[in-house]
Amino acid sequence: MTTTVLPSAARPRARRGGTRMRRRIAPYLFVLPFVAIFLAFSVYPLIFTARLSFTNWHGAGAAEWVGWDNYTYLLGSPAFWSSLGNSAVLWLLIVPIQIVLAVIVAVLLDSAKLRLRGMYRVAFIVPFVTPLVAVAQIWVVLFDQDHGAVNALLGLVGIPDVGWLTTSAWAKPTLALLFLWKTTGFIVIILLSGLQSIDRSMYEAADLDGASPIRQLWSITVPLLRRTIMFAVVLQTLAVFQMFAEPFVVTQGGPYNSTTTAGYYLYNHITRADLGTGAANSFLLVILVMILSLFFVRMLRAKD
């Protein structure tokens, strides 16, 4: 790897033993603070969770080893599967719409000729910098069935009041809307960074051939942006399946558990001090998320 012999410049350095020694030790010192924090607050807890998932510990007293019981319990539990189902529905309501919308917006914003470009870039990222808890509270007020601004607005065009947060049919779309609103701007920025690396001359050539903008989007931009798009899909898949604060603040998992997401269901074990089951649940979630990520990475590779 680094076997290429550097001309002269490298030689004098080699003779000064102190410098070389320091160069050898330095990286260990540089990573030390990080590694200490990483071991204490990431690696150790992870190993602890792994062990905990095979016990029926409730936070006090002696832990009893129960083998795979927690895992078999969860895999046979309808509540567990319904939490995954809720997250899967939210994924379907969020990720495809978000990616299509973000690609369109990013392509439009990428054009140097677009007027008010700077203003749009700022406006679209504003939701991303707002605190989630504050926004979730605002959502509760906005989507209130009797006094909310959304129903008032719809009432102007004659649409009767919708129970956004009180019916299980609408609670998921309302949460999905919050998530879309909050994170789409960030995905736009990520896609913009991918667009920057596309060679402009390809569009000029397509222009000469008379290819329409939509044709150019589909045949040049999307294929060349595939890696960035996949990165965004993986990122959002992780985020959707971990979604917790949204249902916690807005719906408390209801109505009728319709917004009990995978992340919220996991939290329920903690509040009931059912730590062993909670640990097993978190590992099942990790495995699922990793399988999904690998699936998307595979899809990417297959087309390469």
């Binding site: 410049a9 700022v122 504003v126 990165f231 992780l238 903690i270």
Partner: protein, 312 residues
């Protein structure tokens, strides 16, 4: 002026073609300048209104009398402008204390992340050492872990240390997070090795190279990391609510999440209008610091993300 050098640049070709009825024919490159442009602007404007509306609505409504917010959520009468929601909220909710706790955590945790993450990332990007690939592989795996996986054992760890409801618990876990390392490694990898070698020949120490050569070069990426770190700490919710939810230690987000209970608890018989008014006042107040920070630093932030994200 009369003749255009190339057919492509000239407006002369577009003018006669414009009024022709052949709109269905795939438009020539020149023609699509005007019409889709209006469509583009309209589309982006509508989207922008949708993106800004909830925030603007909340801030405006916070200055309305509480009863008006629920009676007429869409209207605003400047004559009835009031600060009542804010004064009532300050009375009922310990929000100032929440701001203070968040500020303390922000400064200490932010400083730790912004110093130690680039330092470690520098070692990962520019040195060979034993265990490098192992540690970095572990970093990548942690990136995929849901944060909630670590919550139970972390909480137990805090109990063992006697750290529940302390600043240490809010500050140390996650202070040098995997994402910061991953991102900074990307940024520092782009710094040319020749620059580091030149500094070394000049007799610069290894830390000196980092501090005086690498840090100035990666400043845009660092600014992006700073904004993102501040945002993450300011908005962090799951861990604070579990590890430090006592009244004394509650951060701003924890205070916000318990608003409704707080208001109704402090005022027996508080009606829906009062709660809504105070809730919007508190939420607006919580939005403002980050909005101001972002608007001031937006260029650094957006360019920082652009500089650091994974390239297609």
């Amino acid at each position: 002026m009369t003749t255009t050098p190339t057919v492509l640049d000239g407006p002369s070709g577009a003018a006669p073609a414009a009024p022709s009825p052949a709109d269905r024919i795939p438009p020539a490159p020149r023609k699509r300048r005007t019409r889709p442009r209006i469509g583009t602007q309209a589309f982006l404007l509508v989207l922008m209104v949708a993106f800004l509306a909830p925030v603007v609505w909340a801030i405006v409504s916070a200055f309305k009398p509480a009863n008006d917010i629920i009676r007429d959520p869409l209207g605003f009468d400047p004559g009835s402008f009031t600060l009542d929601n804010f004064t009532a909220m300050f009375h009922d909710v310990p929000i100032a204390h929440g701001f203070l706790n968040t500020a303390i955590v922000l400064v200490v945790k932010g400083a730790i992340t912004l110093f130690f993450a680039p330092l470690a990332a520098y070692a990962f990007a520019k040195y060979d050492f034993i265990g490098k690939n192992l540690i970095f592989g572990a970093v990548l795996i942690t990136l995929m872990l849901p944060t909630i996986v670590l919550i139970i054992p972390l909480l137990l760890e805090m109990k063992t240390f006697g750290w529940v409801n302390t600043y240490q618990a809010l500050i140390l876990p996650g202070s040098v997070d995997a994402f910061a390392i991953f991102w900074m490694r990307q940024v520092i990898s782009a710094v040319p090795d020749e620059l580091l070698d030149a500094a070394r020949v000049d007799g610069c120490g290894e830390f000196g190279i980092f501090w005086r050569v690498v840090v100035p070069v990666i400043r845009p990426g660092l600014a992006g990391l700073a904004v993102l770190t501040i945002m993450n700490i300011y908005n962090d919710f799951v861990w604070p609510v579990v590890a430090a939810s006592s009244d004394r230690m509650a951060t701003l987000q924890v205070v916000l999440s318990t608003l409704a209970q707080n208001i109704t608890g402090n005022r027996i018989g508080a009606d829906y209008a009062t709660v809504t008014g105070e809730l919007l006042a508190a939420s607006s107040l919580a939005l403002i610091p980050l909005l101001v920070l972002f608007i001031v630093l937006q260029r650094h932030f957006i360019n920082g993300i652009l500089a650091g994200s994974v390239k297609g």
